[in-house]
């Protein structure tokens, strides 16, 4: 196992390298650059700007520059927000997204699983239908609908929470965004858990356990659940990576200063360095969480082996 983990860490490096390279050249294919805007720039000034950001050099030279800086931990300045370096933008935004994402992930996994298990235990009865109905609605309503609804109802009508803003991290400011992020994930987790739990409960060894007179709790939690966890874990890996890097919709509607918006805005603004920063960020998260997920597979199901 340890050897496997070490090997995975080693393969992470070429993976990251491939990601960075493809992303770098993929970006340049898109038409337009960071300095095209409604008030078109005077060509002389545009040339000056491009010179300062090394955009006038041949592409391969820019790539090498970028790699060299990257290895030193320098992600470069943001092209469209030149007052800040990419690293500074992440330093101020990442903790915000991480907080919200972690809370949402935990809630979704815990509550979602609980609901899914409950529904599975009462398959085809009223509770089951209720949970499935709620989960379906939850997974079909997009975040850009949940967020304004929350704002209208809980903030403007009931005045329990502010409409938006981060408020320096105050708890009441987090409720809206976390709820919005959690709901769809919770629904998906509940459905997946219900489905796989039902399958697991039908397995032979569960029948044996029941016949042996084991308590319900023991049967469900210690035996059936283990078999049911696999799809949840598989889903949770990429879901975690996505949640922790922030959601552009939630952050825009609630005016949260996270990094989620950069994934979209930076691309639309052709802010090359910021885009590369987001690529590296999500690459790291993806590789990390996939490793965790693969380890968990082996833990949950002892039959899984990697050699």
């Amino acid at each position: 196992m340890l050897r496997y983990v070490l090997r995975r860490f080693l393969t992470a490096i070429p993976t990251l390298f491939v990601i960075v390279t493809i992303a770098f050249f993929l970006m340049r294919v898109a038409p337009g650059g960071p300095f095209n805007q409604e008030k078109g720039l005077n060509p002389v000034i545009k040339a000056n700007l491009e010179r300062i950001f090394h955009l006038d050099e041949p592409l391969w030279r820019q790539y090498v520059h970028y790699l060299q800086n990257l290895l030193r931990g320098d992600f470069g300045p943001s092209y469209n927000l030149p007052d800040f370096t990419v690293a500074e933008l992440f330093k101020s935004g990442l903790p915000v997204s991480l907080q919200l994402g972690a809370m949402a992930l935990t809630l979704a996994l815990v509550i979602g699983s609980a609901l899914g298990i409950w529904a599975a235990l009462r398959q085809n009865r009223l509770t089951d239908y209720a949970v499935v109905a709620v989960a379906t609605v939850g997974s079909t309503i997009p975040t850009f609908v949940i967020a304004p609804l929350f704002q209208l109802f809980f903030a403007l009508t009931l005045h329990w929470f502010p409409v938006g803003g981060w408020g320096g991290g105050a708890f009441i400011n987090k409720v809206g965004p976390v709820l919005t992020l959690t709901l769809p994930q919770l629904a998906i987790v509940a459905r997946l858990m219900r489905g796989s739990m039902i399958e697991s409960l039908h397995a032979h060894h569960i029948r044996t356990a029941r016949a042996l007179g084991l308590s319900d709790y023991s049967v469900v939690i210690r035996h059936a659940l283990r078999g049911a966890l696999l799809p949840i874990v598989s889903y949770a890996g990429p879901a975690a990576a996505a949640l922790l890097t922030g959601s552009v919709i939630v952050e825009t509607i609630f005016s949260i200063p996270g990094v989620g918006r950069y994934f979209v805005e930076a691309a639309l603004n052709r802010d090359y360095t910021l885009v590369m920063g987001t690529v590296v960020l999500i690459a790291i998260f993806t590789v990390l969480f996939n490793l965790i997920v693969d380890i968990l597979y082996a833990v949950i199901d002892p039959r899984v082996r990697y050699d």
Partner: protein, 526 residues
């Protein structure tokens, strides 16, 4: 944990101070559409930055609450008889926020910095009237050859290429703001960070948290600090306009500088006269690719132009937040006569009949439709406008298709002179002068998306640039508009912009003006 304790501490302190009758801090939460790209006044380009910088810095001239020119960092000035040399006497005793005096050397340093190619300031061309400025930006001359001089510590002299009547107006633009030479030289690129930034205006920079807020606090060293009523201004980026409305309703914002147009009728019903809409110096237009057939046919261009029902667009699509436009330069510039196309006063039915006739002559009709693709950048309003035009032109035998791309792709395409039929663009005035608009149709200008070129037009603009008499100059510019726009339709003007603000009734001193500039120093809050 830390954050909460600190805010608790601040809160309790303020409570104590409030109850003991000490001053209560006046805070103005100002919705500002977007975060600034930079707080370096010489590197900025958008109006969102301008609004923030206007509160931080003070240029030679500045504007009052009604956006009229008043003395700023310069308390008086004289102009040489030939109109080319301006001598500014700086305000005695003016200080930077770090206590050092504001000197003419700071202005020299700042202006040279703007045009320096190493700075790559996007608005370097703003100082083009100054001797050698353009050559410096192009790298042909050195920055210290610029036509600016510090005669002594409190006298700043500028030499221009030609008399420039709008020069004083230009000085309100942030590209001309001073920066403290000592500060910039000491801190380098970091001088824009809170704590480092030294400013000479009514406020200083306290915090800048990207995508969250920018906090500026009253500058005690400002010469007019006694009259500045608002202690703290929080500039809050509000890209999602629907959320901004909700935040305003909840009291989290005291004002916002944009409104969701499709909801205007409902918003007006809800917020009454807190909604402020009025004319703004900007034009929304379509550009034909004049170098491509059939758009090189002048009669065809006019036919399309007169067939479009701008009243409908203004009233129904933009909910009366825009005004129909038949000229490129919007009304509102004193001394200038806008020239409109000759069908501006015709009834819509007559216009459509005329258009139909022209199209028929050229062989187009419902059996042989003219294909026209409208391109724009992604936005609800641009889309609704194009859809409405699509329906308007259909009965005339014009088949309109609509293509939207993201902003960078759109302007990148236009800049590269890519292929298109009709493309949407807009122009907001940098300063109150018609030349700012008319320059867009000059041959070879970067923003001349339609690639219009006409010697007569260029000559008229050159004549205006060389005139010493302001009235003469305005006349030449007006004639240029008559040629380029009214006659040749170098751009297809559709609508004039309006400013759209929502301002809390608790905010006092807000004066609507055509430049939509509202420095915080003239506002107060009850």
């Amino acid at each position: 944990m830390n954050m909460n304790f600190k805010s608790w501490l601040v809160g309790t302190t303020m409570l104590v101070m409030g109850t003991t009758g000490a001053f209560a801090e006046v805070v103005f939460n100002r919705g500002n559409s977007a975060d600034p790209e930079s707080l370096d006044p010489h590197k900025t380009s958008t109006i969102y930055e301008a609004d923030i910088l206007r509160d931080l810095f003070l240029g030679l001239t500045t504007e009052d609450a009604k956006s009229e020119i008043i003395p700023g960092a310069a308390e008086s000035w004289t102009v040489s008889p030939d109109g080319k040399v301006y001598t500014f006497k700086l305000r005695a005793g003016a200080l930077w926020s770090d206590g050092s005096p504001v000197t003419a050397h700071d202005f020299v340093f700042a202006w040279q910095r703007v045009v320096d190619p190493a700075t790559a300031g996007e608005y370097a061309y703003m100082l083009a009237p100054v001797v050698n400025a353009e050559d410096i930006t192009a790298g042909k001359k050195k920055p210290d050859e610029m036509g600016v001089k510090a005669v002594d510590d409190s006298t700043f002299e500028v030499t221009l290429n030609a008399p420039t009547p709008y020069f004083l107006e230009m000085l309100t633009h942030q590209a001309t703001y001073p920066v403290s030479r000592a500060n910039v030289e000491a801190k380098g690129a970091d001088f824009t960070k809170p704590g480092n930034l030294v400013s000479n205006g009514p406020y200083t920079l306290a915090e800048f948290i990207p995508n969250d807020h920018i906090k500026v606090v009253k500058n005690p060293k400002f010469y007019d600090a006694a009259n500045v009523k608002i202690d703290t201004v929080n500039f809050i980026p509000t890209e999602d306009r629907s959320t901004a409305m909700k935040r305003f309703e909840a009291g989290e914002l005291d004002s916002n500088n944009d409104l969701p147009t499709e909801q205007l009728t409902d918003l007006k019903a809800k917020f009454g006269d807190q909604i402020k809409i009025g004319p703004y110096l900007g034009t929304y237009y379509y550009a034909f690719k004049i170098t491509k057939a059939p758009w090189d046919n002048l009669k065809l261009r006019h036919a399309i132009s007169e067939a479009i029902d701008r009243d409908y667009l203004a009233e129904k699509v933009w909910q009366n937040s825009m005004i129909p436009a038949y000229s490129f330069v919007p009304p509102g510039i004193t001394g200038y006569e806008t020239r409109t196309t000759d069908y501006a006063e015709m009834s819509q039915i007559d216009r459509e009949d005329a258009a139909r006739k022209v199209l028929a002559e050229l062989g187009y009709g419902p059996d042989n439709p003219l294909k026209m693709e409208i391109r724009s950048n992604t936005s609800e309003n641009h889309k609704n406008t194009a859809i409405a035009i699509q329906e308007q032109l259909k009965p005339l035998g014009v088949e309109v298709t609509y293509l939207n791309t993201d902003t960078k792709t759109h302007y990148g395409h236009l800049e590269q002179h890519g292929d298109f039929d009709v493309a949407r663009a807009g122009w907001i005035a940098d300063y109150k002068d018609p030349e700012n608009f008319l320059a867009l149709c000059k041959s070879g200008t970067g923003n001349n998306y339609s690639e219009y070129t006409d010697k007569g037009y260029d000559d008229l603009l050159a004549k205006a640039a060389a005139s010493a008499d302001p009235a003469e100059r305005m006349k030449s510019l007006s004639e240029a508009e008559a040629v380029g726009v009214a006659r040749d339709l170098c751009v297809l003007p559709l609508l004039y912009y309006s400013y759209k603000n929502i301002v809390s009734s608790k905010l006092k001193g807000w004066e609507d003006n055509v430049m939509d500039r509202h420095p915080s120093r003239f506002l107060s809050k009850e």
